[in-house]
Symmetry: C2
Subunit: 181 residues, 2 copies
DNA sequence: GAATCCACTGGGCAATCTGCACAGTCGTAC
DNA sequence: GTACGACTGTGCAGATTGCCCAGTGGATTC
């Protein structure tokens, strides 16, 4: 399929409708929530659910994607089901000026699912997974086994009461934009 | 569309092919990586890319989903594009026995994108977003403005060198299973 | 060694959906 | 009041999906 289809279905030019910069009016919000709940529905089905024309949904989705609001529709893979049931967060303290090297090193470790640089001590925070608690030791050894890293403190995740979510935020953003304008 | 289609295309009974419990053989791995890279491709296109029959891809996807390996295909929404460019991680120290209440409280805050309970001090770690640094103060006030929370320390995210990813892990898992059996 | 079982191939068919296009409506801004 | 942008509703050809079937090859079982 085409990668960069020019937004020219029947409407919807590049400029946003009403929202300032945050994007997202109520229709957008409902669309995103709908997609979040039932990702496999197509444009046609979505238009039915939302009670708007198909072209509108198509245009909105195009805009949301070129806006960057929707980055994509990647499969949501569960590391646990992949054989990595242990999750941990590691706070890393790194040597001054070693940032670049450390990033490259961590990017090379598959068990590092994400990495952030944070305020605090000029540190980094990364999310790790492992096959077991014993395996976590191996992962951590590999993570910290790099010159630029001074110290690491790890917190193992026990429960995940709120899994990564976006719907409440989208609803708030949509409502906000809507009443705000 | 059907929600729980029984896995009965042309093959693929509920039992896994060869992998023990981790699931994921090489074909599965390639499928997931392919879907992660180009989520919008359909079953047919995927079968072409992978060089297998359509039914096979269909069966694999069904199995991966009922396995729980693939949770879904939700839209990947960027909070920044939604108007929440500030991300932070907060470590919460909670009063003994207040866990349930605190969870419910945090679940009710839209800016709390995820929440984990961790080892360390019986604490929690949550990911927050806000409209600005000033707004972050409001969010944090709301988060900690609850009886069960004793103390909170927050780290603001500056950069995100490694965005949440799964591909390297999938590739490792697939390779592992494959050679391991 | 022979019978089974199972994942997979390759083909087919009807129904649906997608990409694209066009004319017309409606509210707003100029 | 005119122009513009967003949206509706409809149409069409081509591609895709859900579902089904017969056959093949490797591995397990008896």
């Amino acid at each position: 399929m085409m990668t960069s289809r020019s937004v020219t279905h029947a409407m919807a030019p590049p400029s946003s409708p009403s929202p300032g910069s945050s994007g997202i009016d109520q229709l957008d919000g409902r669309l995103i929530v709908l997609l979040a709940r039932e990702p496999r529905i197509g444009v046609l089905e979505a238009s039915r659910r939302l009670g708007v024309a198909r072209g509108t949904v198509q245009a909105r989705m195009d805009r949301l994607q070129s806006n960057g609001v929707i980055r994509g529709f990647g499969p949501d893979v569960d590391p646990a089901a992949l054989g990595y049931p242990v999750t941990a967060f590691a706070t890393l303290e790194i040597k001054q000026g070693q940032g670049t090297e450390v990033r490259a090193h961590l990017a090379g470790v598959p068990e590092v699912l994400e990495l952030h640089t944070t305020t605090g001590h000029g540190d980094m925070l990364c999310r790790l997974v492992a096959r077991s608690n014993a395996d976590l030791q191996r992962v951590i050894d590999r993570v910290v086994g790099f010159d630029g890293i001074v110290r690491a403190s790890t917190a193992i995740v026990m429960e995940n009461p709120v899994p990564l979510r976006i719907i409440p935020l989208v609803e708030q953003a949509a409502a906000w934009e809507d009443s705000g304008t």
